[in-house]
């Protein structure tokens, strides 16, 4: 890899404060990979792109995923879906809570990556990180309650027992927020996940590194392999493939660049995908992810649920 992009040599990754004793030590740098089917994989295309911090300084090379990687991710998600959806609701809630637990332990690392990626102050980066952790907790708690809020027993006008229960839609494609590299991602990732959907995420193109670090948490927090898959790369290249893939049931177009949105939704129509959009009048760049009321919504969970209604006669 290093031979292809000379710029890599000048990278400065999140450094811990140097002490006298590490002055001579050469730092071990991290390779940022894709996350497909529970494995940290390099793109099959062998391509990468340079990711710079908000201040313009180079941070690392990220994989530039190909359409083949995307198809692999969808296949992994489909495989992961049934097992995840079949878990008990309480179990899924515990797994999401576990993600929060592990993020808490690495919060300084996340805060530093968010600071570099988004160019915010240390205090702000810390606030964003802690809120991302808390958001997992908020959505985790919905796992075994959403069916009671959105489900129903229906008093039909005949002798039938009739009830409606929500079920996960299936495989969800998420085009993540371009600006909010961690909190925006978590806020849109947790809602489909908590009810049993499997997801394929296209991370922020310009700020992908926190998403990849998040996959390291997911990989060690009992989220089954394939349930979350994360790709980095060019949205212009990958969004059309994601939108047109027939084995994706729903699409979150939140982070789709405005100029691609219509074409994305046109492609999604060919397999009748459910489309989750930003609320009317909301822009990605201006959205306040720290506003709990705005980002913690049962409707965001409902966007990836199918209502199933079951009838049975009553009689002796």
């Amino acid at each position: 890899m290093a031979t292809r992009k000379p710029a890599v040599k000048s990278l400065t990754v999140a450094k811990s404060p140097a002490t006298a004793s590490d002055a001579d030590r050469i730092e071990v740098r991290k390779t940022y990979k894709l996350y497909i089917g529970g494995a940290f994989a390099r793109t099959e295309s062998g391509r990468s792109y340079l990711v710079s911090g908000a201040d313009g300084s180079p941070l690392a090379n990220a994989n530039r995923a190909s359409r083949k990687d995307l198809r692999d991710a969808v296949r992994a998600a489909r495989k992961g879906f049934s097992g995840w959806a079949d878990r008990t609701a309480m179990n899924r809630g515990q797994v999401l809570y576990r993600v929060a637990e592990l993020m808490e332990g690495r919060r300084d690392q996340f805060a530093e990556e968010v600071r570099q990626a988004e160019g915010v102050s240390v205090a702000r980066a810390r606030e964003i990180t802690l809120r991302a952790i808390d958001r997992w907790v908020w959505y985790a708690g919905w796992a075994d309650k959403i069916a009671q809020v959105l489900g129903a027993s229906n008093p039909v006008a005949a002798d039938y027992f009739n009830f409606t229960i929500p079920e996960a839609t299936g495989v969800v494609g998420i085009v993540a927020s371009e600006t909010s590299s961690l909190l925006g991602l978590v806020s849109r990732l947790a809602p489909p996940l908590v009810t049993g959907n499997a997801v394929v995420v296209l991370a922020s193109e310009t700020r992908p590194l926190p998403a990849i670090t998040l996959t390291e948490v997911l990989g060690t927090s009992d989220v089954p392999a394939g349930v979350v898959n994360v790709l980095t790369g060019r949205k212009r290249e990958l969004v059309p493939v994601l939108a047109a893939h027939v084995d994706i049931d729903a699409l979150d177009v939140w982070g789709v660049p405005d100029e691609l949105r219509t074409d994305t939704e046109l492609a999604a129509a060919d397999s009748v995908k459910r489309i989750a959009r930003r609320p009317r009048g909301v822009t990605d760049a201006r959205f306040d992810w720290l506003d709990d009321r705005a980002s913690e919504r049962p409707e965001w969970i409902a966007a990836y649920l199918e209502m199933k209604t079951v009838w049975h006669p009553i009689g002796v």
């Binding site: 229906n154 005949a158 039938y160 219509t262 060919d270 009748v272 209604t309 079951v310 049975h312």
Partner: protein, 510 residues
């Protein structure tokens, strides 16, 4: 019908000297007696020779004066001429709906909106026989069904949603539900009045106004509904009805002046409509096609199951998006079920939809009849075994015999494509897992049926079905309180129940 020739050559014509005991043994013989005609009177409804559009509370002609004819599919006679909406009429209707939403309906307190909807429900009940006869004449469905299913359910829908109009805050706890504005609604020809009620009732309850395009072969009940709106003194522009061809429907849903689009119809058209709203902020709900599996386990109550299978596929001539068109029978009982079905088919009465004894009426249009005929021919050509009972069909009109295919493979067109006609494909399975796999092996996911006496298996199957409605030991039941809608390419969003409100509101913080 050319297709029947081979089959009929095998069938003996009924002659009066056959013993009564000889019928109904699965050999395809006709019933050895005839039912006296029991026609419903047409006089209960006054059908005019000409109908206009319903825009802004008034009946108006199309902007270019154009009309089209609507035909009784049972007689092929023209019933009436109907104004054919133009793009200019669509504009006019949307403007009227917008004005009504802004100036009156949107700000009317929920409890007052409710009373209008209750009025409409009552008027539909009061005029139920008119609607039933008109619906049957325009669509070809048996009077028994329009009278006992379509019209009462339509009234019940308005009744149900009327009560929600002033209780929206309880449907969306923690949120304030605001109307979206103007809803563009396009409905199919299989349940014209019922689909109208599914669309209009929740929209109005939530404070929206509507522009509705009925199907071009069945516009009359919607236009009679316009009369009900006037009788109810519904404010002008709250409901607008613009019959016309499908391109007018596309014009309507593509119009920048609408906030929400609701469509019931084929998956192919649904995709076009989803494309038409791509990149906009319009809300969208789609209720599309289906290819439902009706699964019968060996421990099922077989005679009840046979009734359910017949109701599942021959109800409304099979012109039902959720029809149980794929019968999956456990191998050990396949032969028994098939024989019982053949017997039962021999007792189905096909004919004059206005006859109160008719079970299967007329196919809605010549085009639909041709589509059914083509797919049935494909079934024969692909090697499935066809069975049809020897019933007489009327000389005129679009009729098709109840049809049963055995020896069907999953790859056959009749097992994959939505036929939208009285055609059942029988497939078999051995294990519950195989039943699940076959049932879900379709891009559709609207409904499914399960027949077994084992409770835990019912619930297991219900969980495994990727379908929006699961009927266990029953089929084709509908109720306004019961959400209806599909998984996968059968569409998204639900109609009916509290869930049906969701498509017509914007949620805001308190």
């Amino acid at each position: 019908m050319r297709l029947m020739a081979t089959e009929q050559s095998r069938l003996l014509p009924w002659s009066g000297d056959r013993a009564a005991a000889g019928w109904g043994l699965g050999d395809g013989q006709a019933i050895p007696w005839e039912y006296a005609p029991a026609p419903e009177s047409r006089d209960v409804v006054t059908i005019r020779s000409r109908y206009g559009l319903f825009i802004d509370g008034r009946e108006v002609q199309a902007s270019d004066g154009g009309v089209f004819s609507t035909v009784n599919p049972a007689t092929e006679e023209i019933i009436a001429e109907v104004a054919k909406a133009t793009p200019a009429d669509v504009d006019r209707a949307i403007r009227a709906a917008r004005r009504a939403q802004k100036t009156r309906w949107g700000s009317l307190p929920g409890r007052e909106r409710a009373k209008y909807l209750f009025r409409i429900a009552r008027l539909l009940q009061e005029r139920s026989r008119e609607f039933a006869v008109l619906e049957t004449m325009d669509s070809g469905k048996p009077i028994k069904e329009s009278r006992d299913v379509d019209v009462p359910l339509a009234a019940a829908h308005f009744w149900y949603y009327a009560g929600w109009a002033d209780k929206l805050e309880y449907a969306f706890p923690g949120r304030v539900a605001r109307p979206l504005g103007v809803a563009a609604q396009v409905i199919p020809w299989n349940f014209p009045l019922l689909m109208l009620s599914w669309k209009i009732a929740p929209a109005l309850a939530a404070g929206n106004t509507v522009v509705l395009k009925p199907a071009s072969t069945t516009p009359l009940s919607a236009l009679l509904f316009a009369e009900v709106c006037r009788q109810a003194d519904l404010p002008a522009g709250v409901v607008n009805i613009i019959p016309g061809p499908s391109d007018i429907g596309m014009h309507l849903v593509s119009h920048p002046g609408v906030d929400k689009v609701a469509f019931t119809g084929s998956t192919a058209v649904g995709k076009l409509i989803q494309r038409a709203v791509a990149g906009t902020d319009k809300g969208l709900t789609l209720e599309l096609g289906g290819k439902a599996a009706n699964i019968v386990f060996e421990d099922a109550a077989l005679d009840q199951a046979v009734e359910g299978i017949v109701n599942g596929i021959y109800f409304n001539q099979g012109e039902v998006c959720c029809a149980g068109s794929r019968l999956l029978v456990q191998e050990s009982i396949a032969e028994t079920i098939t024989e019982k079905l053949k017997d039962r088919l021999g007792t189905i009465r096909v004919g004059d939809p206005l006859d109160k004894n008719t079970d299967v009426g007329a196919i809605n249009s010549r085009a639909q009849l041709e589509k059914i005929t083509e797919l049935v021919a494909a079934g024969v050509a692909e090697g499935a075994d066809m069975y049809q009972p020897a019933c007489d069909l009327p000389d005129r009109g679009y009729f098709f015999r109840p049809t049963l295919f055995t020896n069907v493979a999953q790859s056959h067109r009749i097992a994959k494509e939505e036929i939208f006609g009285p055609v059942l494909s029988v497939l078999t399975f051995r294990t519950p897992d195989e039943a699940v796999e076959k049932a879900n092996n379709t891009p559709y996911g609207l409904s499914a049926g399960v027949w077994t006496e084992k409770g835990s298996r019912i619930l297991w199957m219900a969980r495994k079905m990727r379908a929006g409605v699961v009927w266990a030991n029953t089929f084709n039941r509908f109720d306004p309180t019961s959400p209806f809608g599909g998984y996968k390419e059968s569409g998204f969003g639900r109609e009916g129940g509290m869930h049906g409100l969701h498509a017509y509101v914007r949620l805001e913080d308190r």
